[in-house]
């Protein structure tokens, strides 16, 4: 069932301790900062978080990690110039890391949404990231068996939603949103605009409403603001 909620606090209120939470975004583009802040506020802990990175600077996911709320990160690129909170927790042995090649991360999320129980891919074959994994020679190449990544909740930022929950995104902020919406049991979406049903061209809908559970409008989180959303710690 689709709900339009009035606040990001209300949107994330149902997230339980121990949940697996997918968070959209690549760099700052498409990061649902306001939903992440609300998740920080709501107190849920012992989380497994799926995101391409592991937080940057003193905002969003980095703060969740700093506060010890994340027991495990599943990501492709944790190490960045300003990933100091992750770095500290990792070196202290206080956070688990599952490092996944970015394309495997995307494909494993897609598989969860599409009902695929596992797949073979050449990516990672022969590397330390495939150690211990099943391999098979298919289509003329050695390939590695990878499994879907399911989640309890996805936090996603989109540009617009209509009354049916259909979503469109903006430029490279689209990134993980559509596949995470399909992979998670509950998708919570912040948008900068809610438009009347019928206002989105059915040819151009990117995420159909069937994948969306909660929508909250966040003022000022719209077009092109990804780099200017800087939060104090």
């Amino acid at each position: 069932m689709l709900n339009f909620v009035d606040s990001v606090q209300e949107a994330v209120a149902g997230i339980k301790d121990g949940s697996t939470v997918m968070i959209g975004g690549f760099g700052n583009a498409g990061q649902p900062f306001e939903l992440i802040d609300a998740l920080l506020e709501c107190g849920a802990t012992d989380l497994t978080v799926v995101n391409n990175n592991a937080g940057q600077g003193d905002q969003g996911l980095a703060l969740l990690i700093k506060e010890g709320r994340v027991k495990k990160m599943i990501c492709s690129f944790p190490r960045q110039s300003d990933s100091w909170h992750f770095d500290a927790k990792y070196k202290a042995g206080e956070i688990e890391l599952e490092l996944v090649p970015q394309g495997n991360l995307a494909e494993r999320i897609r598989a969860a949404g599409a009902g695929i129980g596992g797949f073979f891919t050449p990516t990672g074959y022969g590397t330390m990231l495939a150690e211990g994994k099943e391999t098979r020679f298919l289509d003329g190449k050695w390939q590695v068996f990878e499994t879907p990544i399911h989640a309890d909740v996805a936090l996603i930022k989109a540009l617009k939603a209509d009354g049916k929950g259909n979503l469109v995104y903006r430029k490279t902020a689209r990134n993980f949103g559509p596949i995470m919406a399909a992979a998670a049991r509950q998708s919570i979406v912040q948008v900068s605009e809610i438009v009347p049903t019928g206002a989105l061209d059915p040819e151009n809908v990117v995420t159909p409403g069937i994948y969306v559970n909660s929508i909250v409008k966040v003022a000022g989180s719209g077009a092109g603001t990804s780099t200017t959303t800087e939060k104090a710690a």
Binding site: G27, F77, P101, K171, T172, R174
Partner: protein, 222 residues
């Protein structure tokens, strides 16, 4: 592709920009290309309109334009290095699974990557030093290495300590097995593959001098 088939030489080693210009010249017209973070990004400065090259960025775009400046900067429009970029006419956006399907499905003609090491048979090591305590981060490197039709590496031939980065077998953790087809360095251009290493060009040295630096047998392009 405009690959010379006999050994070429020049009198001096190539700088980063000269090397980028050479890589750009070697990209066939109409190609779809992904340029890795760092030195490979320089290649875009030397692509010509006549070449009609389409750049892919793995965070979800084909038809990427130059870096954004001033008012062009838009936080929703960045490249894989998280640098604000621009959009060219005929661009398209897609989600991450679709974007990596382009790479993994073998649809990119060329990707250009940096490297720590390349082995004689084209194994690539460019994602992890393997140093104790280092936090690993892989991003899209393994997908690019495995998926593109041709993987070009750009790097200096030698480390700061003077060791060859073309090696018999990689000592760093590898990114992909036998995936590199060509290595562009300041001292020469090398073709790698199952049959070993062929030198296409040398810069500021002879093949014999190059052989003294590189611990694998080098053949001259026939």
């Amino acid at each position: 592709m405009s690959t010379a088939t006999t050994l070429q030489t020049s009198t001096t080693p190539l700088g980063r920009d000269e090397l980028a210009r050479l890589v750009a010249k070697d990209i066939a017209p109409g190609s779809f290309v992904n340029l890795g973070i760092g030195q490979p990004t320089l290649v875009s400065n030397y692509l010509t309109d006549e070449q009609n090259i389409t750049l892919h960025t793995e965070n979800g775009m084909l038809g990427m334009g130059p870096a954004a400046e001033g008012d062009q900067i838009d936080g929703d429009l960045i490249n894989a290095g998280k640098i604000p970029v621009t959009e060219l006419p005929g661009a398209s956006y897609f989600h991450h699974a679709d974007s990596f399907a382009i790479m993994r499905g073998g649809h990119l003609d060329i990707c250009v990557l940096g490297a720590f090491q390349v082995s004689a048979t084209g194994d690539l090591a460019n994602w992890h030093t393997g140093a104790p305590g280092a936090i690993p981060a892989v991003g899209g490197a393994m997908d690019l290495a495995t998926g593109a039709k041709d993987v070009f590496v750009m790097m200096t031939l030698l480390t700061r300590e003077g060791a060859s980065k073309i090696v018999e077998s990689c000592t760093y953790p590898i990114t992909g097995v036998g995936c590199v087809t060509r290595v562009y360095t300041d001292k020469g251009v090398f073709l790698t593959g199952p049959d070993g290493v062929t030198v296409r060009e040398t810069f500021g040295c002879t093949l014999e001098e190059l052989q003294e630096l590189v611990p694998v047998p080098l053949k001259a392009a026939a």
